[in-house]
């Protein structure tokens, strides 16, 4: 790897924070309310807790060989052949997911802002900056996150504070009506989007960070902050919109922002608030795409991953256009397929790595 760049612990924290908020904040509340009704916020708390545990697991896996990124680790521990096979799967997953992000942006813009604009125009423009960012490398990306951190937090705080007057406590009653099973199902949805995919950060942590110990803390902190924000937003969705509207809306958090009305003066600011969503989704897209490009170049032992940015980027745009025919197909994918898919890379792969490491150690002894 010629990349000698380093990411500071603070930058990693922000990167994880922005990444984790990403698509989750807009689309998952609807899916979670679908399963857990008014108890979706409990599911979010459980999910956030599970997310923190998973982050602990990732940190543990990362610490096995601090100088290796995840794909190198796969090759080292599983052997070259199996390792490469696993990496191909890993690449495939990351790459499809990055196209999915592009699709989400395109669909959102087309549904709420520019219904008559051909979606490929939005896809191309969004992908263009994603590719540009990844070409520049992880260091500029992490510096960018530091710039984005302030506006994103500011907009989030505005959203949360401004919507509090609309809260209707009756909406979450009765608590625990649906029973445990739907809550667990909703929590799984939350985990699958919120934390299982943060396994990606094993490509950055610990091989590209400056201080490993502090970076681990940053990783954890980023997850915790994002978890808190998401639980609060999930709760507000139910409290303000009610179960019915949360489930019915394609993007409930956007509908939430529409509800803001302070003294008939500060109203209709949802497009402005959606900016933070665009920023966080951009970070998510960048991380997915960065990981897929780097993994791809490592599989084929390409010296510099930057050469692959433009060709893979073009494929990403095309893939994003043909990935789903409509948002319903995306919904089915999110509901039924995403969870097992992401579990393979997000749960089984790290666990297997831990097991493999233990066996290797014993054999070596």
């Amino acid at each position: 790897m010629i990349d000698n760049v380093k990411v500071s612990s603070h930058q990693l924290m922000i990167l994880v924070f922005l990444y984790s908020i990403g698509t989750v904040i807009l689309h998952t509340p609807s899916l979670m309310a679908h399963f857990a009704k008014q108890d979706a916020w409990i599911a979010a708390i459980i999910g956030a807790g599970a997310g923190i545990l998973l982050t602990g697991l990732y940190i543990k896996v990362g610490n096995l060989f601090p100088s290796l990124s995840l794909d190198r680790l796969n090759e080292r521990l599983f052997g070259k052949f199996i390792g490469k096979t696993v990496n191909i799967f890993f690449f495939f997953w990351a790459f499809v997911s990055s196209s999915e992000i592009v699709f989400y942006i395109g669909d959102f813009v087309a549904t709420f802002w520019m219904p008559e604009t051909p979606s490929f125009a939005i896809h191309i423009m969004f992908s263009f900056i994603v590719i540009l960012a990844v070409r520049l490398g992880i260091e500029p990306i992490s510096r960018l996150t530091e710039i984005l951190f302030l506006p994103v937090t500011l907009l989030l705080v505005i959203l949360i504070i401004a919507i509090v007057p609309e809260v209707e406590w009756m909406n979450i009653q009765p608590v625990l009506e649906v029973g445990i099973r739907p809550i667990i199902r909703a929590a799984l949805v939350f985990v699958s989007f919120f934390s299982l995919s943060t396994v990606m950060f094993l490509m950055i942590y610990p091989s590209l960070v400056t201080e490993r110990k502090k970076a681990a803390k940053g990783f954890l902190k980023g997850t915790i902050y994002a978890g808190i924000i998401l639980v609060v937003v999930m709760g507000l969705n139910i409290l303000v919109l009610g179960v019915d509207l949360t489930t019915r809306n394609i993007a409930p958090s956007y509908a939430l922002a529409r509800k803001i009305n302070i003294g008939n003066f500060i109203t209709r600011i949802e497009s402005f608030l959606a900016l933070f969503w665009i920023m966080t989704v951009f970070i998510r897209g960048v991380v997915y795409f960065y990981v897929s490009v780097v993994v791809f170049s490592n599989i084929f032992e390409v010296k510099d991953y930057r050469h692959l940015c433009s060709p893979l980027g073009m494929i990403m745009v095309v893939l994003s256009l043909i990935l789903y025919p409509n948002i319903q197909a995306a919904g089915t994918y999110d509901k039924d397929i995403w969870l097992p898919f992401v579990s393979i890379v997000g749960l089984f792969m790290p666990l297997l790595l831990l097991v493999a490491a233990r066996i290797r150690k014993r054999v070596d002894r």
Partner: protein, 402 residues
């Protein structure tokens, strides 16, 4: 040099991307619709009426424009609402732009047949926000309401919007319901929707009264005003609440902001209790296997008017007036709830939701035929009224007129 050329090329390319969007629409291409009316025609189609602002007429107070009407009406029939709206371009030089919709008026005949179907478009379309009020035209067609010119507020839609807000706040017998709330109520098994009624009263020749001449007169011959509340069963209109029932609905559902109540004095005459704060808590319970509702209402207010001889300087008089208010109001509440239970047999108060909140298990059994359960539901009302102030004078001068 090479670098500069590259940068310039990239910038030029970016420029071509950022010129705007495919579907940009300038202000002069929009027909900004502030109010919309939905009616049913004789052959079962929708008649959509759009009240579109004429921007040059309402711009500024410079007296600009040639004295045209501030709004213009476009109407079209269609088997679906969307079809009718798009068809309007046959007549309208601009495409209907409903983002700033303030009032949606639904004709009574359509409301009786069901409002669910036509409302889908309004919640689905991306150009619409859900922050407009919905009302049912009582006794007249929605189109007639939208054709009345108004004074004070030049655009009738704004008049209706402000009118409804003011009236819901100061008199509390109308109900300002937005689309989201309406939809939630329609699908909820434990609460049925209620919409405010709106009526147009048109005297004399329509040709002149519905013209600009209407607003030139001090006592305008054509008026629109809010009146009564429409009771719905799911999405179908089944009846109208009178004023007392409407106020009861607002108090129990915690929508009352302020109102005035006449209370009798002990030795004849009347006093007025001015409500400044009203807070109701509805609790559902299962007692002896039967659902019951406890309503606890806390009211604060002032003595607003005294038209009888009482000694306001004494604490006892204030207590007496409080008691008298509580008695008077409670009677009305109990009576109105009973009437609604017996006459309409639909749960507009959300008692079902209250039981759902406290006892979800019992609710899952009751929910199936809740209307029947609602009919003989026991409702206990607790009312506590406090008097905080008596206005700027103590005892009335009436006491000293001998």
């Amino acid at each position: 040099m090479k670098r500069i050329i590259t940068i310039l090329t990239v910038l030029t390319l970016l420029l071509s991307l950022t010129t705007g969007c495919w579907n940009r629409r300038e202000l002069n291409e929009l027909a900004i619709t502030l109010a919309m009316g939905l009616d049913l025609t004789k052959d079962g189609k929708y008649l959509v009426t759009a009240q579109v602002v004429n921007p040059s007429e309402i711009a500024g107070d410079k007296g600009g424009g040639g004295g045209d009407s501030p709004v213009v009406i476009y109407q079209e029939k269609g088997e679906t609402v969307f079809e009718a709206i798009r068809k309007m371009t046959k007549e309208s030089p601009r495409k209907i732009y409903p983002s700033h919709l303030r009032m949606l008026i639904i004709g009574e005949s359509l409301a009786k047949k069901g409002i669910g179907k036509p409302l889908d478009l309004l919640s689905r379309d991306w150009e619409l926000r859900s922050d407009f009020y919905v009302a049912v035209s009582k006794g007249v067609r929605a189109e007639e309401v939208l054709k009345v010119p108004t004074s004070l507020e030049k655009t009738p839609a704004n008049k209706m919007f402000d009118n409804l807000e003011v009236s819901a706040e100061a008199w509390s017998a109308t109900s300002a319901v937005m689309l989201d709330e309406l939809i939630t109520d329609m699908v909820s098994p434990g609460k049925q929707p209620v919409l405010t009624g709106i009526t147009a009263d048109i005297k004399g020749d329509k040709r002149t009264t519905l013209s600009k001449q209407n607003v030139e007169l001090i006592d305008t011959p054509a008026k629109i005003y809010f009146n009564q509340l429409a009771v719905f069963k799911k999405d179908k209109l089944i009846g109208w609440l009178n004023e007392n029932q409407s106020k009861t609905y607002n108090i129990i559902t915690n929508k009352e902001v302020s109102t005035v109540v006449n209370i009798p004095c002990p030795d004849g005459g009347k006093a007025v209790y001015q409500v400044t704060k009203s807070d109701s808590k509805v609790k559902g319970k299962i007692r002896n296997g039967r659902p019951e509702i406890d309503i606890n209402i806390q009211v604060e207010g002032n003595v607003g008017e005294v038209e009888c001889k009482v000694d306001l300087s004494k604490q006892e008089t204030i207590d007496m007036l409080e008691k008298s208010y509580e008695k008077e109001k409670k009677e009305i509440l109990v009576k109105s709830v009973k009437q609604i239970q017996e006459k309409y047999k639909v749960d507009i108060f959300g008692f079902g939701d209250a039981i759902h909140r406290t006892d979800p298990k019992a609710w899952s059994k009751l929910k199936k035929d809740w209307d029947k359960n609602f009919e003989d539901l026991k409702v206990n009302i607790q009312l506590n009224g406090e008097i905080r102030r008596v206005g700027t004078i103590g005892n009335s001068f009436l006491n000293d007129i001998k």
